[in-house]
Each structure stands twice: as C-alpha cells, then as structure tokens.
C-alpha cells in the first residue's frame, strides 16, 4: 500500500485493460475453484464473530433484554445506536451507487457493486437490531399493516412505524436495484464458466439474459429511473431514522435538524466503509488496474464533503443548545461535553471532523494506508456519535430525579461484535459468489476510451 501516482489526466481504467481481460479477471475471482488464503482467513474470522452473535441472541431470547445494560432511564442502548449506525453504513452504499449514477460520474462503475453488496449486508444487520431490542421479538410482525384477527393496528402516526416501513421498503428495493444491475454480469460469468455445475448455477441466476439491443435498452431505462428513485429514497430512509429521535421530547433529540444531520452522517460513514472494502477488494482480488487511484481519490473527496457537512451539524447541535432558552437542553449539552460521556464526544469530534480534514491534501487521498485508517476512524467515530445521541441524551433527561448512567454489559459488546460478524459473513459470501465489479459498465467505459 503505497502512495498512488495520480496525474490530473489519469484514466479511470488503466490502459491495457480490454473487454476480454476485464470480463475474465472479474469472473475469474468468482469462478476460481479455490478461494485465496486471505478470503478464508477473513471468512473464518467473520464466521467466528457470527457465532458470537448466535450465542448472544440465544442468551438474549432466553433471558430478555435485561442481559443488556439498558434500564430506566436509559431504555435505548447499544441495539438502537447500532441500528442507526448500520442503516447509515447501508445508506452510503446507495449514495455511491445511485446518486453518482445520476451525476454521470463514471468512476462509480468499478465501485458501485462493492457499495451495493455492502448495502445489502449492512441492511441485514440494521434490520436485526430493532427486533432484538423488542422485549418480545416474536411479535415484531405486529408492525405490518395488515388486517389481523387481533383487531389491533399499528399506530401509523408514529415515526417508529414510519421507520419500520422505510427499512422494509429500502431492503426490498435495494435487492431489486442490485439484481437489475447484476443481471448482465451474471450472464458474463455464466458464459465464462467451464464447469457444468457453475454453468447451471449462474445460468439460472442470469435468467437467460442474452444482451439483445432490446434487453440493454430496457435495462438502461429501468436502471436509470431506479437510480432516480433510490437517491431520494435513501435520503428519506435516514431522515426518518432522524425523526425517530426528533419526535421524542428528550433533550438532545427534539431538534428539527435531525433528519439532515443523520443523512450527513450516512454520507460520511457509508463512503468510509466503501473505501475500506474497496481497498481490501482491490488488493485481495488484484483489481489494481480496474479500480484505480482515481476511484479512491474521488471517494475520498466525497468523504471530505461529508465530514464538513457533519461538522456543520455538530456546530448547530451545540449552538442550538447554548443559545436556546431551554435549561434542560443546556444542562444536557454541558454534560455531553464535560460529563461522564465526554471522552466519547471529543473522540468522535476528532475522528469525524478533525482527522478527515487531512483529506484536503492530495498526498493523503492517494495513500491507501492513510485512507484506510481515516475511514476506519470515521466508522468508529460514527458509532460513538450514535452512542452519544442515544445514550447520553437519555441519561440527562428533564428531571434530575430521572438521571442515571448506562454501563454496557458483556452481552452488549457481544451483540456489537456479532453484528459485525454477520455483516462480514454476508459480504465475504457475496465476494465469493457474485461479480464484485460491474463488468458491463466497465466494458462500456473501456469502449468509450476510458475517458471520464
């Protein structure tokens, strides 16, 4: 991992990559009979962490959420913080994929599949968290708006219900969006497969895609409109997560800036995770000439913009509390910056705002090691941000008699580690089974001369 030489007119795809080589390279990673050693190590670690989740969930279901550190007054703990964290990471995948398709930024083509695969894996973790948090997880289906014989309906005026609907629709839509883009690439894998079983497997997945003029035209039309829908959709998803908090009367939550504030967090943390996974895939699968320094440089700039937007929100979060007339709000904020949870606050400020300013320097944007570290720092910082918002706000509510402190238990940490395991397991499986670079779109870039 060295500093990448990136002249201003650098191509998106390295010269020397042609239609056959890109197709064969990407398909080969899926078709190779033996996965590389790093894949087995990563997958093994992921499975181990997944086992931790299985144990933690089993213990939770056996004993109830009392095994966590939650109680009164801090009734929302890690599970909700991690729900917000995961859904933000997922949203970043859609932003890279859909938003930059609409802006006709060709650099997204080599990285959008990584972003979408990450999205699906992170959305699965996000969906799990609120269900674990329910005292009676088996009854989560009561949220579905269907005519039940119980005679009970969900209260659809609640942001919590909006959130459920958003997440449900988001996952379903992401799967359809993903598959629409994937179809031509699975067809390529099908055609390059040598073994009968793989030909049948990918043949069924490709649904008989033939790449006729009609197929392509319809696929392009639908994909374009899907992107135009997914981009505002993802903003709505994370804004509604913000409304979960803004709709509550707790100091530190009840603020109109929450929807955009949460969306800015989604931009920065999601892009950070895409960068980390891109660096891993780029070297692990030897895609250096398809995923170039151009892509990392572009995403680093997006991350920098996200950091500045988030800094703006942090500023108003503090200013609103200090300038406003609400004493509880001011007490809460003073506690946030000087109280028990203050270290987490300052660390998140450093990791999310201060350190990413290094990305102004071109040399940092071209160093994969620094990018990886900064991105990792942002992901940790964003987790701390959610931790502060959820837990610190609740622990300084209006009434001093209603103050209390939250201490995470072993099972809290186990659930966090386990959800990371679930994410990585899904991601590693996608990495092994499906093409991780959008082959058709890169072919199009090559055909147009690798231009920007």
């Amino acid at each position: 991992m060295t500093v990448i030489d990136l002249p201003p007119e650098a191509p998106i795809v390295e010269p020397g990559v042609d239609l056959r080589s890109v197709s064969a390279t990407v398909a080969d990673r899926v078709l190779q009979p033996k996965a590389p050693r790093w894949w087995w190590i990563g997958f093994g670690l992921s499975l181990t962490l997944l086992m931790v989740l299985v144990v933690a969930v089993f213990w939770l279901f056996l004993n109830g959420i009392g095994v966590w550190g939650v109680g009164i007054p801090v009734a929302w703990g890690f599970a909700i913080a991690e729900y917000v964290w995961w859904i933000a990471l997922a949203s970043g995948g859609t932003i890279v994929s859909a938003l930059f398709y609409l802006t006709r930024s060709p650099w997204r083509s080599a990285t959008n599949r990584i972003a979408e695969s990450m999205l699906l894996a992170a959305a699965a973790c996000a969906g799990l968290m609120p269900i674990l948090h329910l005292g009676r997880p088996g009854l989560f289906y009561w949220l579905f708006p269907y005519s039940t014989v119980m005679g009970v309906w969900p209260q659809v005026r609640s942001p919590l219900w909006w959130d459920f609907i958003c997440l449900l629709c988001y996952i379903l839509m992401s799967i359809m969006f993903y598959y629409t883009g994937l179809l031509p690439d699975v067809a390529t894998v099908r055609d390059l497969a040598q073994h009968r079983r793989k030909q049948i497997f990918y043949g069924i997945l490709a649904l008989g895609w033939r790449g006729t003029a009609r197929h392509w035209r319809n696929q392009q039309v639908v994909y374009y409109i899907m992107c135009a829908i997914m981009a505002p959709m993802v903003i709505s998803v994370h804004s509604v997560v913000g409304l979960d908090f803004a709709g509550g009367l707790t100091p530190g939550w009840h603020s109109t800036q929450f929807p955009p504030y949460f969306f800015f967090g989604a931009v920065i943390s999601g892009v950070a995770l895409v960068i980390m996974l891109t660096i891993v895939v780029r070297h692990g699968y030897a895609f250096e000439n398809v995923i170039t320094g151009y892509h990392l440089n572009a995403m680093a700039k997006v991350m920098l913009v996200g950091s500045i937007m988030l800094g703006y929100s942090y500023l108003w979060e503090g200013w609103g509390s200090i300038y406003g007339s609400d004493i509880a709000e001011r007490t809460m904020f003073m506690d946030r910056i000087f109280g028990f949870y203050a270290p987490a606050y300052w660390v998140k400020l450093v990791l999310n705002i201060l350190v990413p300013q290094l990305l102004w320097l071109p040399v940092v944007r071209r160093s994969e090691l620094l990018l990886f570290l900064i991105s990792g720092g942002i992901i940790v910082g964003m987790w701390l941000e959610r931790y502060i918002i959820v837990i610190q706000s609740l622990h300084r509510n209006y009434m001093p008699s209603y103050w209390g402190t939250f201490y995470p238990t072993l099972w809290d940490w186990a659930t966090l580690a386990g959800s990371i395991g679930l994410f990585l397991t899904i991601f590693f499986l996608i990495l092994r089974l499906l093409p991780i670079v959008s082959i058709a779109e890169v072919r199009e870039i090559i055909a147009k001369g690798g231009s920007k």
Partner: protein, 179 residues
Amino acid sequence: MSEPRLFGLVGRFASADSLTDAARQLRSLGYREVEAYTPYPIDGLDEVLRPRRRTWLPLLMFIGAVFGAVWGYFIQAWDEVLNYPINVGGRPHNSWPAFVVGTFEFMVLCAIAAGFFGLLASCRLPRLYHPIFAADDFDRASVDRFFLCVGARDPSFDPRRIRRLFERHGAERVSEVVA
C-alpha cells in the same frame, strides 16, 4: 425427433460500429427479424433495429408509483379513520401529514417493483433456453464480440445475400443456427 429447423444466420463482429452499420443496412434492405447481441449497451442500436417503437417501462413505473401512493395512503387512512380510530392529542383521525412518509415509501416501492418485473416481462425473462445460445462462440457475446442475427422467419430471408452483407461489413465469422 423432429428435423432441425434453421433459426437464423449469425454474424460475429469485432466492433460495435461495424455491427451497427450492418444492422442499419439490413434494415434499409427491408429485413425485419434482425436482432443484435452485444456485451454492453450501444447507444441508438435499438432505434436502428426497431425504429419508432417506444418503451412503455417508464409509464409502467409511473403507474406503479401512483398505485403505490394510493394503496399506501388507503392502508393508513383505513386503519386510522375507519378500522381502529384512536384520538391522539385531539388530532383529526385523517391526519394526512402523518401519513406522508408511509405513502411515499409505498409509492417508491411499487414504482421499483413495477420497473423490475416490467423489465423481466419486456425482456421475456426468465427464459433459460433460447436457440441463439447454440450459435458458434456465442459465449463471447457477453464478453468481447458483437453478434447480429437475421431470423429465418423473415419473409425476405436469403442466406447467401445476408452472408455477403455480413462479410462486406467485416464479420469475422458467419454461421447458421438451428433451433
């Protein structure tokens, strides 16, 4: 076993431009059963093969969106107004601003689903078998070669004439496909 029937004549091209030129000339000679198979989308190729045929997919997605919005609003209003009315802070039962998010989500979900299933339907997928898959080297159609096929059903189908036309446009290989 029935006699193998000729499906069409396939030409393999090395570049998108020569394929488009050949397709254009075939159309101008009056051939109608012409289909192109390419590894990536080529601008305007569908218009060359099927001029004045507009795709109905955007309209379908729009109808999906309207349906989703109506359905989403109906579910919420029926729940809160008719089936299970609860007085929340004196708000009207049909408190439409609170229903906007649900309506929006159902709207976009139905639009995307209409697009996805409409795409499959308009492409006649899933269809795991197609005669063209038996064409020589057809596995390269999804990698680096461009294929043009004139169907034997075409009323003016004339293999020798088509073969000459393909070769004039630089086809690397011309072969027959049986169904």
